[in-house]
């Protein structure tokens, strides 16, 4: 398994798999299978896939540690960028068919409607992450700062779930399911952080005794 994950060709099928939802939408568009409200169909599908790819991205770190498969890190950037990709498509359906590219109306809508505000926030937060996803930017920012910045995905995912929750009329089961998954993934990180902090504290006295700055 680790050797398969480390193989440079493994990224190709994963990449194609990530494109499958888009392919599915294109195919349904061409065959006229988008239902009575095609715009809404595309809007919901791209929104759903944005949330799913955010969840997939957030799964990588816990899975690496739990399954002891550090190679999984190779796929994190791709999954995150696909989340951004589907978010862009989702945002476009809002800009065009929903708002007819009327920037003034869009700005008013974003400011006035909490569900649009959180959705917009979730999207905007992903932009710097996508821009700084290259190796060059990790170097420029330094690993620590880069990591700090990229924790914005936590907020983006939370905002995405709230966006969905506020959108539905009464059937909250699906948004709550996403909420539970995102909560579990973030709580795991919190637990992991506490454990690591505990270890550093117990390990700390040793390093402190070592002569520094002399």
């Amino acid at each position: 398994m680790p050797s398969l994950l480390a193989n440079k060709w493994t990224k190709v099928p994963i990449f194609l798999l990530c494109l499958a939802p888009l392919g599915f939408l294109v195919w349904r568009t061409l065959t006229g299978n988008l239902g009575a409200n095609p715009v809404e169909f595309i809007q919901h599908a791209t929104g759903d896939w944005t949330l799913r790819f955010l969840v997939f991205t957030l799964c990588i770190t816990p899975l690496r540690k739990i399954l002891k498969l550090p190679e999984l890190i190779r796929f994190r950037r791709m999954l995150g960028l696909f989340a951004f990709f589907y978010a862009c498509l989702h945002f476009l359906t809002y800009l065009g068919p929903d708002q007819s590219f009327d920037l003034k109306a869009i700005w008013k809508d974003v400011a006035k409607r909490p569900f649009v505000t959180v959705g917009f926030t979730a999207f905007v937060l992903l932009i710097p992450l996508a821009l700084t996803s290259t190796a060059g930017w990790i170097r420029r920012l330094g690993g620590r700062r880069w990591q700090m910045l990229h924790r914005a995905i936590y907020i983006s995912a939370i905002c995405g779930v709230i966006h969905y929750y506020w959108l539905v009329k009464s059937a909250v089961l699906r948004p709550l399911t996403y909420g539970a998954i995102v909560a579990a993934l973030l709580l795991w990180r919190l637990g992991d952080w506490f454990i690591r902090r505990g270890r550093t504290i117990t390990a700390a006295p040793k390093t402190q005794r070592a002569p520094v700055n002399t």
């Binding site: 006229g32 239902g35 715009v39 068919p97 007819s100 909490p114 569900f115 506020w166 009329k169 059937a171």
Partner: protein, 322 residues
């Protein structure tokens, strides 16, 4: 090609049923589907023709109502495969699938409350209460989409006058059929609303000639997923006010509870008149997407029935009584 609607045409005349139901195959075989994708806006028209093609034609000699709009009617396919009927699932494509086996015969509607003659009507009796009319109404959902539907029925006031409401009757309460055996999805924890579905109208709203007791659409009975065998259609109100599969009508003195108001009184009022100036707390009601169109169009006050119904609400603050 524009097919002009003429009164002597029936829905069966427009497109042969076989061709209609195989239209996608037909299009694909013509290699048009791909080409249509580049035709932009026309794609939707090509793939969901607006012609009315219901070939059952159970009802003939329908009276053409002067209340009908001349706007383009949505396709039978779209209207019957994209609608809310939470008893049969919360997604708009689910009622068409899950209501297939719904038994609508025998059926009776019990009329009770503040009336001189309480009685039960069988479906056969209801169908004979008045000459059936075709009424092509705009239908605006609270979610922001709209359709144009050729409903069949007669003014609700025909039935109301027959049972002679007493002066105490100030409101009419309606109740839908509810049976978990036939509607396994009709549970509050799945749907987020209580069952049975209940709705209500003020007496003057119920007696307004536009208020339709509806028994069919597209020249035939109501399909199960659209509220068979009998439902209400109140064209100037949001769609959810048009209660489906009615089993009980009760004339009452006080404003009756209504399902969406019970679920969320902050968002869904008793009146729920279509009003572009009063937003849903979470989204704007200023615009709507007509099925078959890509961009949103402006929503009209009282869904375009302002001339007929605005007088019902004179002096009322419609922001307060939403």
């Amino acid at each position: 090609m524009l097919i002009q609607r003429k009164s002597e045409l029936t829905y069966a005349d427009v497109t042969p049923k076989d061709l209609y139901f195989n239209r996608r195959k037909f299009l694909k075989s013509m290699g048009l589907a791909g080409a249509a994708a580049f035709a932009g806006k026309n794609l939707l028209d090509l793939l969901s023709p607006s012609q009315k093609v219901y070939a059952g034609a159970k009802f003939s000699n329908l009276i053409k109502s002067p209340f009908s709009t001349t706007e383009k009617v949505n396709s039978f396919e779209d209207v019957t495969h994209y609608n809310n009927f939470y008893e049969f699932g919360i997604d708009k494509d689910q009622p068409a699938k899950n209501a297939q086996k719904f038994r609508t015969s025998p059926w009776a509607v019990s009329v009770e409350g503040e009336v001189k003659t309480k009685r039960k009507f069988t479906m056969d009796e209801i169908l004979k209460l008045a000459p059936l009319e075709e009424r092509i109404y705009r239908h605006r959902c609270v979610e922001g989409w709209s359709i144009v539907v050729p409903w069949i029925g007669f003014s609700f006031n025909v039935l109301a006058k027959l049972v002679e409401p007493t002066p105490k009757a100030q409101f009419v309460a309606f109740e839908s059929y509810w049976d978990l055996g036939q509607m396994p999805k009709a549970r509050p924890e799945l749907a987020g609303i209580e069952f049975p579905y209940v709705e209500g109208l003020r007496m003057d709203e119920a007696m307004h000639p536009l208020t339709l007791l509806c028994v069919g659409m597209y020249d035939d009975n109501l399909p199960n997923q659209d509220g068979a065998p009998v439902r209400m259609v109140i064209p100037w109100k949001y769609g959810f006010k048009g209660i489906k599969s009615i089993v009980k009508i009760k004339f009452v003195a006080k404003e009756p509870p209504t399902t969406w108001n019970l679920a969320n009184s902050h968002e869904y009022g008793f009146y729920s008149n279509v009003n572009p100036n009063v937003d849903h707390p979470r989204w704007s009601q200023a615009k709507e997407r007509r099925l078959g169109e890509i961009f949103r169009r402006n929503t009209l006050m009282f869904n375009g029935y302002q001339d007929q119904v605005a007088s019902l609400y004179t002096g009322m603050d419609l922001k307060k009584y939403y």
